[in-house]
């Protein structure tokens, strides 16, 4: 008499046997696997990756060094000489005129408490009045 456990085992063995025969249809040739393994050993993917990474890093370093070196070089614009000390002192901005606004004097001085702002703006009128 076959026990349920044995029957289960037989069923499982049968199922796995079918799976095994299905796997065999996809089996790669032994020699091919071995050849690929030896080829991989000669030039592994990790080494290939590391070479690529190293080449990229070297390229970045070279470009960065080139940019730094270029920036450090003295650059002279043709037709424009370096300014001397005196010319720097006398130099005026072309837009300095825009800083001269009407009534600018009022802002520069401290106002008198006893006088009108109009008196200072018209001094001649004031002196005439005091004289008469």
């Amino acid at each position: 008499m076959i026990s349920p456990d044995d029957r289960d085992d037989t069923e499982l063995r049968e199922l796995f046997a079918r799976l095994r025969s299905a796997d065999r249809t996809e089996l790669p040739r032994y020699r091919a696997v071995l050849d690929q393994a030896l080829a991989r050993r000669r030039f592994p993917a990790s080494r290939q990756r590391s070479l690529t990474v190293r080449a990229a890093a070297a390229a970045v370093v070279v470009v960065a060094a080139g940019v730094i070196a270029y920036q450090r070089l003295p650059h002279e614009v043709p037709g424009q000489s370096a300014p001397t000390g005196s010319s720097l002192a006398s130099w005026k901005s072309p837009t300095a005129v825009l800083l001269h606004t009407p009534g600018r004097e009022l802002l520069r001085e401290v106002p008198d408490l006893d006088s009108s702002i109009l008196d200072r703006m018209t001094p001649t009128t004031k002196s005439e009045g005091s004289g008469s």
Binding site: L15, R18, R20, D23, T25, E26, L27, Y30, V33
Partner: protein
């Protein structure tokens, strides 16, 4: 057939690869290499099946694992010491190599987690039988995919590779008791899932 080699017969002094050897070593290494070659070729189909199981049935990854495992064997990085059968030892090497590869490649690990279902490439003469077979196989793979990895491994080794639980324990590097527990629980769960999925 499981062949047990004496430890010295399988030793290749590292880092000597069988294809590259000194003149003095050449004859012995070539002979050993031929022996190893023959053993590996005999077990190639079973090794591929086991590599498939270790890689979540990813064919491409299984081939890569097999390549790495063969390289380890030939380069002497993995040495057979004669404590078990050659097949048990080789399966252990494949299992460890698959674990290493999976750690290295996280993307592949995610792919492997989805236990892919393969369809048989030869449907056979009768379409209805072929369909039934395909469905049964799909159910089996789906049920296997739901098991814990250790349970799946032990069942694969016992039912697919006709190993004893003791041999499976050696491949999995666990004690016999642990392997037996995984086997019993795994088998019960697998049968439960297969029965539940039955029309």
């Amino acid at each position: 057939m499981a062949l047990t080699l004496n430890p010295p017969a399988c030793h290749i002094s590292a880092p000597v690869l069988p294809l590259i050897s000194t003149n003095a070593q050449k004859s012995s290494v070539t002979m050993e290499r031929a022996q190893l070659d023959s053993e590996l070729e005999d077990l190639h189909a079973a090794s591929f099946g086991w590599a498939l199981a270790c890689c979540g049935r990813d064919r491409e990854e299984a081939e890569e694992v097999l390549q790495s495992a063969y390289l380890k064997v030939f380069a002497g990085k993995a040495r057979f010491d004669g404590r078990s059968t050659f097949r048990t030892w080789l399966f252990g090497v494949i299992r460890l190599t698959a674990a290493e590869e999976r750690r290295r490649n996280i993307v592949r690990r995610l792919r492997a987690a989805a236990y892919a279902v393969i369809a048989p490439s030869d449907p056979g003469p009768d379409p209805s039988t072929a369909l039934e077979n395909a469905q049964r196989q799909e159910r089996l793979l789906s049920a296997l995919g739901e098991l814990a990895p250790r349970q799946r491994e032990v069942l694969q080794l016992v039912f697919y590779h006709d190993m004893t639980i003791e041999e499976a324990a050696a491949v999995m590097s666990v004690s016999l008791g642990t392997a037996r527990t995984h086997y019993e629980r795994g088998k019960a769960r697998l049968l439960e899932k297969l029965t539940a999925g039955r029309p």
